[in-house]
Symmetry: C2
Subunit: 358 residues, 2 copies
């Protein structure tokens, strides 16, 4: 079984740094390539399969160490591939790749290794909150074990060589996922996003490059991989994200103090729509769950936790929804099933009594 139930995975812990209602999760990704072997997109299928056959037995063995599962992407059914994407364990691009592409997923889904995505190896560690150091330690440990076994393409002056020049150097991308609905509601979001761009950080929607920020979730990551070491890159990122979290926190408190009606309107509408709608698309569902997430965080909602909201945000996505139903469904039918699921799951949730003289 490649994927466990969401309830058992990515559970928020007390060690998430206390900012987990805003800094949802963080991730470190390392891009590595075998020396003297062409990058996957330059290699032919036979060559890619040879890389897979070289790496996978070792990863299978090593995988045993962290109770992982390995799979050739092409051997997975469409729903499972969609689920892996939705959990950010493989990229959407990876889901479409043919023979030679594979993935190893750790038992707790906090470590995954992709074979023959854009690079021969993409090591990825995910942690709750802003625990970038732990994510780095985990990815780095896997990297070191791999490097004991295989020779990586490495240039003394440039660092690790990668298929895309933007990854050359450390091959590392560190990112933190932040929930910025408070800044959106207070109309300060655009200014914050522009400031991040000026700091040479990349901001993307939750589904990566080019995707809209469904559910007001933004992934903030380093743009540069060259000329800095990993710790400096992460420290810089953590500094900036810490500031964004602070601004989001302030925006929420200002809303609560100055515009309680705006806050309550947003949360009350979201809950009402979720409890009433008969048809709902994924993006819309994520937006309303985002409002509830804020509501829980601000103490406006009863009988709901942030962990439940996050689990539901996973289960309403097409792959997870179809797996739950046990059958592939047309989009229109999924929208009905999604609305049914949300009504069912959030039926007991109520707004906390609030003074209405605003």
């Amino acid at each position: 079984m490649l994927l466990r139930s969401a309830a058992n995975t990515r559970r928020r812990t007390a060690s998430d740094g206390g900012a987990a209602d805003i800094a949802v999760s963080c991730r470190v990704r390392l891009a590595r390539n075998l020396r003297c072997v062409r990058f996957p997109d330059w290699a032919d299928e036979k060559e890619r399969c040879r890389v897979f056959d070289l790496l996978s037995p070792w990863l299978m063995k090593e995988a045993g160490l962290f109770h992982a599962t390995i799979a050739a992407v092409g051997s997975l059914d469409e729903i499972t591939r969609a689920m892996l994407c939705e959990r950010h364990l493989i990229s959407r691009e990876m889901a479409e790749r043919g023979p030679g592409a594979g993935v190893v997923v750790g038992a707790d889904e906090r470590l995954a290794v992709m074979i023959n995505e854009e690079d021969h190896l993409r090591i990825q560690a995910i942690m709750p909150g802003m625990e970038l150091a732990r994510a780095w330690a985990s990815a780095n440990a896997m990297d070191l074990r791999l490097e004991e076994q295989f020779e990586f393409a490495f240039h003394n002056r440039l660092g690790y060589l990668t298929a895309c020049p933007s990854n050359v150097g450390t091959g590392m991308r560190a990112s933190v996922m932040v929930h910025l609905l408070g800044l959106r509601l207070s109309n300060d979001l655009d200014a914050v996003l522009r400031a991040l761009e000026r700091l040479r950080l990349t901001v993307r929607g939750v589904n990566g490059e080019g995707s809209e920020a469904a559910g007001h979730m933004f992934q903030i990551s380093n743009q540069e991989t060259l000329g800095s070491d990993e710790t400096a890159l992460m420290d810089n990122l953590l500094d900036v994200v810490g500031d964004v979290v602070h601004q989001e926190r302030n925006a929420r408190l200002r809303l609560q103090r100055d515009s309680p009606a705006v806050l309550l309107d947003c949360v009350a509408r979201a809950l009402a729509i979720i409890q009433s709608a008969r048809i709902m698309e994924t993006e819309e569902a994520l937006d309303y769950l985002s409002a509830l997430r804020l509501g829980v965080s601000m103490g406006l909602v009863r009988r709901l936790t942030i962990a439940h909201v996050d689990a539901l945000a996973l289960h309403v996505q097409p792959g997870h929804l179809q797996r739950r139903m046990g059958v592939a469904l047309e989009p229109a039918r999924r929208d009905v099933m999604r609305a049914n699921l949300m009504r069912e799951m959030l039926r007991p949730v109520v707004l906390r009594g609030m003074k209405e003289t605003i």
Copy 2:
């Protein structure tokens, strides 16, 4: 008191032709001008006031016959002017006019006469449903009484002369207000509206020229006033509107049969949002009331009538809302008061139990 409470006015009657859930109301307007007096926009203020002083005593007397009230527009406070607009008793343009502009409103608000709008006289009769013949009889009776007293600008070949050439001839515009949410939900609305344009009928949003169709209410009226007599114009309009009502009715039945989830989703969301929102703009309120109107008509909603929906659609508008609060309010404050009013008024309303296996 110029305006009565909405509950007592425009009550839907059994004589509305049975289509009143779709054909909401109809109206006949006659444009008339005094002979040898310049049109209001060509006259100076003194001349306009002379026209007002000439017409108003007679209208005051005549007004007694239909328990009307007369007012110089300039003497009315802003909220009252807004309320007159919202009830379509004066045009938005009329509300801005200065000395000489006045309005006579009948006790039941089914007959109104504007003095010195675009023409010296605009006689307007409003009836529920598609009772154009009754509206015409009412406007025509007032026209005949006026014509016994005053000499109108009339050309033997052209007919009545008016400030805008498009009104020359009969000076009549007949219109029916229709509620077309079924056609919108079934994506057939644009085709129907295009067909109406081809038939040389004008379709406008509820607030007249240039306005969006808030609440999916469309005013269908004759474009031509020249070369046809009044009865032919009205018969043509009634034929076409009858067909539109038929198409809307079919769209609703098709939705109920083929896409009950779409219908229920629309109505359930509207009710949930109205019962939960803390801030709501007018247009949004009208759109949700429009969905409830459809819900009542399709038997999906309990403890609500179409008359209540229509009354509320009046009371959520800025003028009515401010009169109810007894004070002028900034738009942002109105949005909060509007949401409060709607939550309060529709608290007891519930969806009718519906089989959910769709």
